[in-house]
Symmetry: C2
Subunit: 212 residues, 2 copies
């Protein structure tokens, strides 16, 4: 039994894997998914194309992990922004929305890739998961607010999804091109979202359905 991977070798291997994922993330941030060929990623990581396939069964698998990683960061950031710490839920959601928007505007290409750029169908699933995670975070805060009576009862999942969509849409327009009036845009998005949260006094014209 002449050769068996040692911790040292395994670490080296893991390091290469990381480098590939990192290169892919950078490539995404730089030129979007369209530019992220296996060749480009490999070159960027300083390895041969074949090496990529030593670490990932396919391009789709690589990018599934890339999306998972990149969006994980975003989700964490949002989670931190809305974390319960005594603030009223409305304020926490406002902070979350603002964090979401600012991060996206700070890295437009990546945000576009994460939110809206055409990708491989297999990768699309990861994007879905990402949006769902966002929605769930908002939904949890909303549910909390309903429970404490801070806001009116409503279908928290739908509202949370709508918030995510609203933010995404208002962002993906500006993302590709201008960068004008960012502050105003952020303020607009935040006030829209805050305003959209059902107030306890609001008389919503509900006609069917309701709680989740």
């Amino acid at each position: 039994m002449p050769y068996r991977p040692t911790p040292r070798t395994e670490a080296r291997r893991a390091e290469v894997r990381q480098r590939i994922v990192g290169a892919a993330i950078d490539q995404l941030a730089d030129g979007g998914y369209a530019s992220a060929t296996v060749q480009a990623v490999a070159a960027r990581a300083g390895v041969a194309t074949g090496t990529v396939y030593r670490h990932f069964p396919s391009k789709a698998d690589l990018f599934a992990e890339v999306f998972r990683r990149a969006s994980g960061r975003e989700v964490d950031a949002l989670a931190a922004a809305v974390a319960p710490d005594g603030r009223p839920v409305t304020e926490r959601i406002a902070a979350g929305v603002e964090a979401f928007a600012r991060r996206a505007l700070a890295a437009p290409t990546r945000a576009y890739a994460l939110l809206a750029e055409p990708v491989d169908p297999a990768v699309e699933a990861e994007r879905l998961a990402f949006r769902r995670a966002y929605r769930d975070l908002f939904a949890a805060v909303l549910a909390e607010g309903v429970a404490t009576g801070e806001i009116a009862p409503h279908d928290t999942d739908t509202v949370a999804a709508a918030l995510v969509g609203a933010i995404g849409e208002t962002l993906t327009g500006p993302l590709g091109a201008p960068r004008r009036g960012q502050e105003a845009l952020v303020a607009g998005i935040v006030s829209f979202c805050v305003n959209a949260i059902p107030r306890v006094d609001a008389r919503m014209p509900v006609r069917a359905g309701g709680e989740t």
Copy 2:
């Protein structure tokens, strides 16, 4: 000068062109953009693949027109739903949102293709135009409401975009798969949107920016 196209021949030609576009739209509705190869469209239209290229310089051009056409119908439907006819603007917007949602749920695959499916970058521009058209319709109604004092002043473009995003997001989740509680979903979306419209009495925490 032995041969020159006559109206009769031109009509025949135009008819073939229509058939191709129609076939492409149907293909989109059936299997989404992913299934819409030039071969498939040609076969469906009952012409040879080469014929497609007699009428369109490229696949992208064909589908640009297809998207324009298909989304044109949607936009028209929305325009009709929000048309000024004495109803309060809030009600008109509610009708528009409902029409949007119902149409999408009635033809899920087409709606997904129009709203969110990964497509050729060249076609993506058409989708953008589509969303913008939607946004503009909502924005116009909102502006009208602001003018008449029915609703509070706000950044109508951002709010309109947010509405479109909210509807799209809440819809594209359910689109691919289930069809459960459609009525509840529609009701949820509508009430979210109605609720999100700035009321005259609302004290929005605006911090910057404002009117368009």
